[in-house]
């Protein structure tokens, strides 16, 4: 009976040994920032997955780098800039407005205008 109890409690309590959080932060705000950042940054090795969804070695490296940068007191914008300098604009889900991306930003508006025009002319005839 005692052995059974011992084995049972070993199984139950052993999970607490490994339940310590993987990443260490100075404050709760830093932790929140980290978890929102990794959702906004794409894993460069994945077709379309965020860092949060990826266990690729490079994603793990970037995650530890982000923690390091947060601890150094870098802003979210600076961290994003740091990563897009290295891995290109495609690591950001929300690409900035530049000559490469203007079509991306204007296309929905253009299509809307086109559709409205067709609709407008159709009504007249």
């Amino acid at each position: 009976m005692l052995t059974k109890f011992f084995l049972f409690s070993t199984v139950i309590f052993s999970s607490f040994i490994i339940s310590e959080s993987l990443y260490k932060f100075d404050s709760v705000e830093d932790e929140k920032r980290f978890y929102s950042l990794i959702k906004e940054i794409r894993c460069p090795k994945c077709t379309s997955g965020s860092l949060a969804s990826s266990n690729a070695p490079v994603s793990e490296d970037i995650k530890s780098k982000i923690i390091e940068l947060i601890k150094e007191g870098k802003s979210d914008q600076e961290i994003k800039q740091f990563l897009s300098d290295r891995f290109g604009n495609q690591v950001l889900y929300n690409p900035g407005f530049s000559k490469d991306t203007y079509f991306l930003w204007f296309a929905p508006g253009l299509f809307l205008i086109l559709i409205l025009l067709i609709f407008f002319f159709r009504k007249r005839t």
Partner: protein
């Protein structure tokens, strides 16, 4: 009016297909190649065989940096091509990426050493600054500036289409 709409629908469909036809058949399009010019980041990394530290001042002139690891299967495929480049006296610096030193040394002993020297980036720190996402990756540097960053295996085709035009233009490595 319906004629115009039909016309627009047909034109859009044709544009769509011709766009993808051209996109797929574009031989010069290499998704792994990045031609953004940037500075080589500063670093301090140990030699694979010794405790000697390398930094940016040890790298001079024009050379290739090849990111490899003993756990990387594509690197094994690429290796014979690197040997070919080495036989043409093109300096290649090996960046051993996230690898145990002993595994890397065994791998080099077994398959040959095309590298001028090998730096051991165990934690992948320099690799992160270079924007490396995995192995193999190859960089072409001219006077300390990164000119080409290629993600993936370099073979005859990639070499001729991605690297050679720049090497010829700049007449590097005796342009061979």
């Amino acid at each position: 009016m319906t004629v115009l709409i039909r016309f627009i629908i047909i034109v859009i469909t044709l544009m769509f297909f011709s766009f993808f036809y051209l996109y797929i058949n574009d031989d010069k399009y290499y998704p792994g190649a990045d031609f953004t010019i940037s500075d080589m980041p500063d670093f301090e990394i140990k030699d694979l065989y010794s405790e000697r530290l390398f930094n940016i001042k040890d790298l001079e002139g024009n050379y290739l940096i090849n990111v490899w690891a003993s756990w990387c299967i594509t690197c094994r495929v690429e290796h014979s091509f690197l040997a070919k480049l080495d036989s043409k006296d093109i300096p290649i610096i090996g960046l051993n990426y996230k690898d145990e030193a002993q595994d890397a040394i065994n791998w080099i002993t077994r398959f040959g050493d095309p590298y001028k020297y090998i730096i051991h980036d165990y934690k992948g720190e320099l690799a992160l600054d270079l924007g490396v996402t995995g192995a193999p990756e190859t960089f072409l540097l001219i006077d300390g500036k990164i000119i080409v960053h290629y993600r993936g295996e370099v073979n005859d085709m990639i070499w001729d289409d991605v690297f050679m035009p720049i090497i010829k233009k700049e007449s590097l490595f005796d342009a061979n």
